[in-house]
Amino acid sequence: MKFAVIAAIGVSVLASSAFAASAPAAAAGAAAAKPNTRTFDPHDLAGVWTHSSRAVFNWSLNEKYAAILKKRRDDEAAGRPLLKANSCSPAPLIEMMTRPVGPLEFAPIHDDRLVISKSNGSIYRVYFKRPHPAPEDVEPSLFGDAVGHWEGDTLVIDTVGLGGTDFTDGQIPHSPVMHVVQRLRRTAFDKLENRITVEDAEAFTRPATAVQIYTLTPDEELNEFYCTNDRIVYDSNGKVSIAPPH
């Protein structure tokens, strides 16, 4: 039997302006939906929030880091994906907050901290009652050190120490000095806006920005995500293949 073969064409999307949001169709859909006029406490972010779209950043890399990105893409095209993009590692911060794969659970603990988690093992803790440690004492980690404070109805989360990995939302490289500021504001009962600014003096020519919108999905239950059957195998050259079923 001959297999039917169908040609397909991939499409790339170019990010342009600052604070670029979701695709036009998604935005139009959101605009057409009836707004939820239920009253709410703007300081109450507790609940399960699902990405309504995917934020598009206006990355601008310097020459050194643009070369790193090019190599990553060339390797990907050659069947050698970024090794550190392990399918069983939690998504790092920017990917966690902007990639629409599974909802986020916001769980405040009194007025001391906010724990944001995702099914894939990402757990991000924001502390309200202390500042960042001195720069030399910030331990590099996947989610860094995050502190938050309220400016009116906007929760400002400042994160440093993001040296646990060197890619943002999949491939974009960054340095350990990357600094992320998120400004979260509940704009309606069921809408949460996150205006994200990413700075990196060693990798970017200017800050990158994006807006991510989440919708409250109170009935959503996060499922576990433990890699009990990881069949993607990398050889010593970074070439990827599928392990046999047993």
Partner: protein
């Protein structure tokens, strides 16, 4: 050699939902090629993370071939309407596949037509803007 595109400041281009990511790299699959398995027999349905897998036997002129077909993680599977018991060994299904680049009997399952005619997506639900969820 004259460089056509300066590297000093580059705005990165991201394919919608297609860039390699922490939990779903599709680099091994050929997105420009689609195979259609009209009468595949399910050998095993692995309901697991980071990916669900369909093990199928595909009839060919030279005899049956065993194929390993990757699907998305269970979150995406559930949102696309799959359940852990949506298929069982022995079921006859139709499936469209992006095969591996290296020619091995593996691929990424896209549309799966179940024995009862129901069609489910192996790569998660389609988002309102047309891009796949995962």
């Amino acid at each position: 050699m004259k460089r056509l595109v300066p590297l000093s400041a580059i705005a990165a281009v991201l394919a919608m939902g297609g860039a390699a990511a922490a939990h779903h790299s599709g680099a091994m699959f050929d997105d420009k090629k689609t195979l259609v398995f009209e009468n595949a027999t399910v050998k095993e349905f692995q309901w697991s993370n980071p990916h669900a897998w369909l093990e199928v036997s595909v009839p060919t002129a030279t005899g049956p071939q065993d194929w390993s077909l990757e699907m998305v993680g269970l979150g995406g599977m559930r949102r696309a309407g799959w359940k852990f018991n949506s298929v069982k060994p022995g079921d006859k299904i139709k499936v469209t596949v992006n095969p591996t680049r290296d020619g091995s009997h593996g691929g990424r399952a896209d549309l799966v037509t179940l024995a009862d005619g129901k069609v489910l997506r192996g790569q998660g639900p389609v988002r309102p803007n047309g891009a796949p969820a995962e």
